[in-house]
């Protein structure tokens, strides 16, 4: 999942990583196709390449964050399921719901700690 955003990167690698991460947008896919037809030595940094790469890097960053949070659940699936994991990843709404649920649990823990130490002394 390491994606280098520099323009001098070999295009086949990029394409492979695109497949791993997510189906790119039609515009960026086309741009990459053009890029891949050329030999690596003739690769020139062009505007659409840069756009595509930046988009890929953005997408890969999102995918990395998603994978780090859903790593546990992804272990249950077999295969080279990076993309699969991406699909299994809970939505932002679900994530916030889980976070809210966990915060309730943490709140009770906090209260427990406060109860242990939150005492008043009267002399």
């Amino acid at each position: 999942m390491q994606i280098n955003t520099s323009a001098s990167q070999n295009t086949p690698t990029i394409k492979h990583q695109i497949n791993d991460v997510k189906k790119p947008a039609p515009q960026s896919q086309a741009a990459l196709r053009i890029e891949s037809e050329k030999p690596p030595s003739q690769t020139r940094p062009q505007r659409f390449d840069i756009e595509a790469l930046s988009q890929i890097s953005q997408e890969s960053q999102i995918a990395e964050i998603g994978l780090s949070t859903s790593k546990q659940s992804s272990d249950n699936y077999s295969g080279n399921g990076t993309a699969k994991n991406r699909y299994d990843q809970p939505s932002q709404q679900n994530k916030s719901a889980v976070a809210a649920y966990q915060s309730v649990g943490n709140q009770s823990k906090k209260e427990g700690i406060q109860q242990v130490f939150g005492v008043d002394l009267f002399a």
């Binding site: 005492v119 008043d120 002394l121 009267f122 002399a123």
Partner: protein, 226 residues
């Protein structure tokens, strides 16, 4: 003739018995070693008043500590802070007056009340005393009350309880004045923080309550004769 001589003498003793107890209490408190357990007793009633106030206002008692110098510490959780802070000194005054009043009512009632106080000591030892020093102090206080309870005649128990009550009350009159030390520590400082009313005002209020209780008991004992 002999009957006529006895009657006024007995009446005089009854009429001024409160003042006898008061003088006896002041004298006992001047004695170096004998006065110590009574200081502990006042301290115990002070701390248990904090604790009971916490229980009444929905809190709980974590620990009660008593120290040999007559000071104490009550650790509570929850409850109404104002009432808990206020009831330390006021509670000790109340306990002193209550012990004296109940002992004056009837010998049987005095015995029952003494039994209840013994129960309170036992409950304190079981649930709220968590250090050895406090355990020893409360055990000594418990043994004083058990000794009083086991006195051969109920009349002796009454006398002992009355003296104990007055001793607690007189000690409660003294103790708030220890707060005026410029350190802003203790119940007065806590109340000052809660209410913005200066500490010395609270000391003054507790003193007024203590003196009023003494006057009330003095009046009550003289009315009882009539």
């Amino acid at each position: 003739m002999p009957e006529l001589q006895i009657k006024p003498d007995r009446s005089f003793r009854q009429k001024y018995q409160f003042w006898f107890y008061l003088i006896a209490a002041f004298l006992i408190l001047q004695l170096p070693i004998i006065s110590v357990p009574f200081k502990w007793l006042e301290s115990y009633f002070h701390e248990i008043s904090h604790g009971l106030s916490a229980l009444v206002t929905g809190g709980s008692i974590v620990q009660i500590q008593l120290f040999p110098n007559g000071s104490g510490l009550c650790t509570t959780r929850g409850g109404l802070n104002f009432l808990i802070s206020f009831m330390g000194y006021a509670g000790a005054i109340f306990w002193g007056a209550l012990i004296y009043s109940i002992a004056s009512v009837h010998q049987r009632i005095a015995k029952i009340f003494s039994g209840l106080v013994i129960c309170l000591f036992i409950v304190s030892l079981l649930f709220w005393i968590r250090d050895i020093l406090s355990f020893v102090i409360v055990t000594i206080l418990l043994s004083i009350f058990i000794a009083q309870f086991k006195l051969p005649k109920s009349h002796y128990l009454q006398v002992a309880l009355k003296l104990t009550g007055i001793l607690v009350l007189v000690n409660s009159l003294y103790s708030p004045w220890y707060l005026i030390d410029g350190r802003s520590l203790g119940d007065g400082a806590a109340l000052a923080q809660l209410t913005m009313i200066p500490e010395f005002i609270w000391v003054f209020i507790w003193s007024i309550i203590g003196i009023s209780s003494l006057v009330l008991l003095a009046k009550k004992s003289s009315f009882a004769i009539k």
